[in-house]
Amino acid sequence: MTRLDLTHISWTQTLLRSRWPQFLLRAITLAGFVFTIFAGLFGSVVGSHNFAIIFVWIAWWTALKLFFIPFGGRSWCSICPIPMPGEWLQNGGILQPCGKGIGLGKRWPKAMRGSWLQAGGFLMVGLFGAVTLTSPLVTAIVLMVILLLALILSLVFERRSFCNYLCPIGGFTGLYAQVGPVEVRVKDADICAAHDEKVCYDACPWGLYPLALKSSANCGLCMECLRVCPTDNIAVNLRPWGSDLGSKTKHNLDEAFLGLVMLASALVDSAIFLGPWGQLKSAAYAIGSLPWLLFAGVFIVVALGILPGLYIAAVWASMRLGAIKTTLRQSLAQFSQLLVPLGMMAWIAFTISFAFAKFSYVLPVISDPLGWGWNLIGMSGTSWVGQSTSFSLLLQVVLLAVGLFWASRVARRITESVKQALPLIAFSIIFSLSMLWLLIG
């Protein structure tokens, strides 16, 4: 398949090889992160007037889904500030590893590997989302806890264990980075195989060996392998969307679980935040109350019962219609690929539905980030109610149709016949129609 290696272009190679551009971007995001915590703790309690809410849940969350992942895979991870302090201690240096760092360097427990905990974390975000997404104080506390957790874990465990196994956003971006248009791969496998010193593996904060890279799910695009490779054998490719999906790629059961949690979260978030059901919103907001417990119960039944049940039924039916004998576990893992385009397009459609309406909050909050009555750029008080235009509605429809088209193609590519693909396509249709009903129904 067609690839464009960015290391063959001199200016992109310079940009990628140098640690400075990335460091500067990370310094900016770290400063923004610290300021967000400050704004959440000391700014206005009204979410729509506070930098913490608008920048985290409207600007950044939107940018992640509409820009970073679709056009850069895990590119956000390469400039994410959360693991920075821990990494400085591990490396014993700020810009690059210098001597022996601090930390026990233990390996992450085998039983807790995979994306199970990330999926669980994402479920938690959904369960407490109505408060986290609207309360500046809670947002600040959550960000502080994440920063502290990442720091502590980096002192106990090796490399980016927090990002690899715990970060819910890492799980989200990793899952959908498989269809992103960027990948790090080796140029010539023979050169790597003949090279005894695996400096790239030692340098990789994600614990990956570039020669073995088949998927971009776990590669955080930090470019350390590119910087340390003595033979200039690392390629940073622009590739067609969806390159990690197909009958030849290997997938695990935790990906199926993560993919299903993402689909369920997209459905539940659409119902809470875009639906006309006031009681559902109140229930999701009143954490600890009886209505919230009911809401949490329904959410968990949808995420862990109904949707996985439908998926298992579709996979089982598909297995029955195929000639090649596999176990249910293998098929659940292998067929989980169709959840990736389906989920990514659903999240983009969901984001379009509120981003268009709510983006007017961004400039006013730059003008008055703490809600203290400032007017730094003369834009305070310029936010308007915002509305869904007919263009935004049509765009959501088209995005969901593209998701279904893509998922159907993937379903057909990973099965033996159209007949075998049909149950998987039926599952995709049910999900897409549910999203359609929630977004434009």
Partner: protein, 180 residues
């Protein structure tokens, strides 16, 4: 003589291969054309809307943190709709997507306004006065006539599935182990 007898079948095979390639190309473009036309028809074909004689409708909506009650309204296209917005706690607003219609009700007070529901479809209405943390998501739904966009979307979804299956047959994927 031998070269001549060899060349004849070569030429005919070449032209046969060329013919097949041209046919395939025409077939592919035919499918693309068919899907493009179907897409346009699904999205833009005017559909008959059941005509009901316009009526006057009075709808009372109670606004409280963070819900409108009722949250879903249904009227016919052309109806003259009068909204009575009653706020039961703090100040709330009512702003209707797609219509230039807005109301604001003080606590315990009623605000009234009228508009003609001349556009069909489903429109969100939102609270337009910051009323608390969930204010940006205080949303209701007004249905004017049948939801044609939803019907078109369902048809589009089915077209997407058919297009996906046909596209793999027309443009076989190199990665696929199974597609011939």
């Amino acid at each position: 003589m031998a070269p001549q007898t060899c060349r004849r079948p070569d030429k005919s095979m070449e032209s046969k291969a060329l013919n097949n390639a041209t046919k395939r190309l025409w077939k592919r473009w035919g499918w693309i054309f068919l899907f493009a036309v179907s897409l346009l028809l699904i999205l833009f074909t005017p559909l008959p809307i059941p005509s009901n004689s316009p009526a006057d409708r009075n709808i009372r909506i109670e606004a409280s943190m963070f819900q409108f009650s009722p949250g879903e309204l249904k009227v016919n296209q052309g109806d003259r709709v009068t909204i009575e917005l009653v706020s039961t706690d703090v100040v709330h607003g009512f702003s209707l997507d797609g219509y230039n219609f807005e109301l604001k009700a003080d606590p315990g007070q009623t605000a009234t306004g009228t508009f003609i529901a001349d556009k069909s479809g489903v429109f969100r209405f939102r609270c337009s006065v910051a009323c608390g943390n969930l204010h940006p998501f205080m949303i209701g739904k007004l249905k004017v006539g049948p939801n044609l966009l939803l019907l078109r979307s369902i048809a589009l979804s089915l077209l997407a599935v058919i297009a996906a299956l046909v596209s793999l047959r027309m443009f076989p994927d190199q990665q696929s182990r199974y597609i011939k």
